[in-house]
Symmetry: D3
Subunit: 270 residues, 6 copies
């Protein structure tokens, strides 16, 4: 976990530039206390990152842990240290926590529905460039399955790949890569789903199927491959898929559509 410290320092430099011209001209070198307040109900994330930065800069931090539920208006962290340092960290820390808590909160919301049916809820690779580690972390904190971290940790044969190869040949070649890599095929019809299972895929992704289409093919697939339902899943329609009990439902909704959680830091002493 600690290796992310260098990344956090890079984020701080992005926000600081040369130096904080306001704080250095207005605020004396003195001790202060501050609170971070959640202005909305949420599932907290980004707390470990807050703690790492505080620890690096000698700021005492007492915070509610990642994954905890916070109520509107609740104080989620109490900080004590150099006033200038607190103000230097403020925006970077809040941006981390607001974005990550937004994702964790949205994930939890989806997980609660999927979980009622024993279905696993996964995020996709639609993440902000340069920030994926933190977004995948937030998905995990929210109870989601982080799915592939990158192009090298599992095989996913998509429609674009199948322009260059038959499905059977693609699966055959993919299964040679490594016994540690899952081989999944994105399919657009029940027939293709069955073909993939036949070809030896470990999983199939039913892409943009209606609940009816999922239902039609699920029983035949379930015992042979992992079945992932994907494409356009939102809090509004997730239950119509979840009740069919595929193994996995995946979506990028928590990363591409869910709002950030509003939080603020206020100095409480002096």
């Amino acid at each position: 976990m600690h290796p992310v410290l260098l990344e956090l320092l890079r984020f701080l430099r992005e926000d600081t530039g040369f130096w904080d011209v306001t704080t250095e001209s207005v605020v004396p070198e003195t001790e202060a206390e501050a609170e971070i307040v959640a202005k909305q109900e949420c599932v907290l994330a980004g707390v470990r990152e807050l703690e790492l930065l505080c620890s690096h800069f000698g700021v005492e931090c007492s915070a509610t842990g990642d994954g905890a539920h916070a109520h509107e208006g609740s104080t989620v962290a109490e900080l004590r240290g150099s006033a200038r340092t607190l103000l230097l960290l403020e925006r970077t820390v809040l941006n981390m926590m607001m974005r990550m808590s937004g994702i964790a909160t949205a994930t939890r919301r989806l997980v609660e529905v999927a979980g009622r049916y024993g279905v696993r809820l996964a995020g996709t690779r639609k993440t902000t460039p340069g920030f994926r580690y933190f977004e995948k972390r937030a998905i995990a904190i929210g109870g989601g399955d982080p799915h592939r971290f990158r192009l090298d940790d599992a095989v996913l044969i998509k429609h674009n790949h199948l322009r260059f190869s038959s499905l059977e040949e693609a699966v055959r070649r993919a299964k040679r890569v490594s016994f540690t890599k899952l081989v999944e095929v994105e399919v657009s019809s029940p027939e293709q789903a069955l073909l993939a299972a036949e070809a030896g895929a470990d999983a199939v992704m039913l892409d943009n199927f209606t609940p009816e289409q999922v239902e039609q093919v699920l029983e035949q697939l379930r015992s042979r491959v992992l079945v992932e339902v994907s494409g356009g899943i939102t809090p509004e329609n997730i239950e119509s898929y979840a009740r069919l009990k595929p193994h996995v439902i995946s979506t990028s909704w928590m990363c591409t559509s869910a709002p950030w959680v509003d939080m603020s830091m206020r100095v409480v002493k002096p």
Copy 2:
């Protein structure tokens, strides 16, 4: 603009890891053509980044420019090059374009309202850590004012700073920093706004004022300082502020609440 290439390559590494195990096992070394399609109406952004990556990897790219309006279903870029390279770039390029176009589209929506009243619409520093350049760029493409890039390019004295200094003293000290830096004060009451103007601030930020409160103080301030209205601005309430004609309305809504634009890349040849 070109110096961002190194950053784009870092994003690509984040998505790739060691190598694309799917593409390298399934797709032969051959030429291909692909299209990027906007699946929603939007204002395009991230196109320059697409072009830089394509140019670096020897992919021909013919794309609609940043800032252009795209209709649902329209092809916004045509690419031709190595099939493996196209598939390697796919997710990184789409994530850039979807996030940036989402921000540009949301910004344009707000700018259209503000602009009707001659009011400037600005974004804040609530941006994804490590991705601010691209988000500020998208705000500018959408017609917005990018506001401060970081803590060092203008002075903004906020409530937290005023725990350590009187407003007058803070402004006095801040004005010594550099003649090139704007000095703005975030205020929470009409009285404080007038005090800031009196003290010599270049701008005041009316923080979380109701439209009525803005109206009450705006005439007295307008000729003396730049007036920025901020706090909770959304497409729903922006007009109630804009019609009062402050100089600037600022919000983080396009970064913290607006959805990404859905786009996809599809191989069209072979």
Copy 3:
């Protein structure tokens, strides 16, 4: 594949320091031709890296491809370009190719035995820090399975982990991480192997089993989990395991014990 260029440039800086004081003082700015010669029979690797560096520096390169068999004394690449550039690249390029070809050659030797029995041969995470991408690449070029790239792409519960949890509980927790991650357990006895299979592991690693011990448990395991044999595998003893037909045999021998292939670059013109 191109994203590794930045890494290659870093390697070149490591070897160059400020500047090549010999070449810049002794060699004029002129064109030259050079050959890279394999001084031992080998399986070539590192050629893609050679080509990337050559292409970046404007050197024409005609090379035998990665994975090809080279005989002792055969010319594996012909280069033409600036004499100073050729000499600048020499050591870095040769170090890449010699180390990678050494691994590919050793892997191929093991794969030839394992393959006769339909067994997959995999490398481990015992790789040179900072150079793993290239070493895993060489394993793949040699026909091996690259196994885990890092700690995040599959679960491997080892003896050290089982100091903190029962095997059943560990498997149960691990299977929650992600449906995309294989769950494997390293076991030290036939009983533990069966327990792991029972608990739902996808794979078991029989660690430091004798061929007899492997034989004893393999039939019971084979149909339920992937069976990986590991620990002390060398070219000398691999066949005694391979003939038992576990799914996978893994070893670090190609990275920790196999010699580099000797190669040299010689200027042939002028």
Copy 4:
């Protein structure tokens, strides 16, 4: 010495990826103790690196020092700290220590022979890209001379350079570079060796000479230049050269052919 910490953190990221999915799911946040054990007799190296990483992560470490002799089965380091951190560091630390100790052990073996005749034993620039600092360090720990660190710290005129210049002219130009840089010439015949000495070289490298050829020219050279013997030196043939007492014998054998030392880390508490 401390500046290498950033490099060590980079190595740790290479092995970790996003996060250690096994440890974080299986191991609780608790304290533990572990030992690093040498499974072969060896000269230890990489201990300073172990200590730096431990110190950075708050792990107590009591270790046998670099350069010490370890017996088969001896405990070379005792660690105490967060269980998760110990497991996170395990592979990176072992890879460092196994590779570096392998080189130090091989170097010591050669040094013991060379040293009996008062001959200095040096390593070459055939090192793993990106890891040279650590490999040169291991050579020094083993008692060897690290030779050139890179292309900029001494002049070495090789056969390839002499395609572009006469030897005399090359030496003349090279001696102008800096009074701080040794000027050495790689020669392939006794005549060339004498020519280099005549031309004012500080050192000559007798490249791939048989012991007989070395003997033939050594007396004439010894008092005029430093004489380095190089090319194909192994533990088997080193004594046949060393007994002739050139000033230096150099080889890449410890980096390109010597095996890594086998080590492991085992948790001993709980």
Copy 5:
């Protein structure tokens, strides 16, 4: 302030290379005390950087603060720690302090003249590549205005820009960028200065005007725009401009012409 630590470590690596071959061979691992002495009267800068490096390496440091006046021969810092670490840091720390104190001293000298007339003294973007943060910091420590940090924090329309646009159009476009960015125009004649003021520029830079030319136009401009006098300002001629009381005088003299302050570190114990 702390985010610069990574940069300081990079500087230390630049000076160290692989390792300090002198200190590691000659100096034992022992404690020592050292002093940093100013060999010339000066305004100190670089002390914060010294303190950061000392703190990172566990060296106790008691130093005179940034901006303090030091006399010739005065001890400006007392250090205590590992002897090897003190010697490792010596050159990097001194280079920082000597360059930065040179700039701070030169700036103070100019500020003293300008300040007598109430004129602000600013530095330009003529700084050493890669070292600007530290040079701007030194200007601020010397009492100067750091002016633009980079191309993105204020608009400065220069002669070269006006090859592509009329002045009025350029100002009009520039004022649209952001309300937070000053818009300044570099002018070469009194007429152009008035035109810029007319067009709405916030500031004009009178470039290479003689004092007489400044005098001629200053009264007309003063109340309408900020007036900056620039071009060839040195300690010799600054008063002839300062007595005219423009708002700002800017120069690169402290960065491009002022000598470094001579300092040395001497070990005092043992």
Copy 6:
């Protein structure tokens, strides 16, 4: 030489920040031509860096070479390319060339004196942190000897080291490091100089000796060791030392005291 491109891009980012707000708002996307003019007589340096940046950004560049003499007012480079790119590069390129040409010019001035007596003129390690490569390069271009590049490329035993060891012991230990590393001792008296020669040092640095003191000891030393005279050397006093004909005179004057060369870039078309 090309590996510095990444460093140059870093410098460009330092000057650019997010984007050039002036150029992007004022200058259209069009072609332009510009000239770089030397405003003072000088020895040119930084041209290779100019060419690398131009080549990377597709700007045609026809420039006078590094080391050439330029007259006041002479055009040293003609550039043609995108107007925006030319303006983006302007300051970074000029800062490189002005600083490097300043050093090359100052070095040449010293070299001309030293060279009349056959004495080698060397620079020291007093260089701007992060910019040493370029400063050492400029010294070499000016005809100087770049001396040690860093702490690892030669041994220099200084007064501070001798607090921890006798001179003889220090030399003895240092000579064991590597046969490729010069061993030099900084001495403060004729006696110490002779002692160092006796102990086997390759070179002695007479530190802050008066010409008389140098004369007194030079004859005894000259035939036994390389003699370097150092400490307070300037253009004013160099001849008094040079006429004594030590092997080397070293100084930091060209880096710490010589002014930058004034240069400017002007757009000439349109």
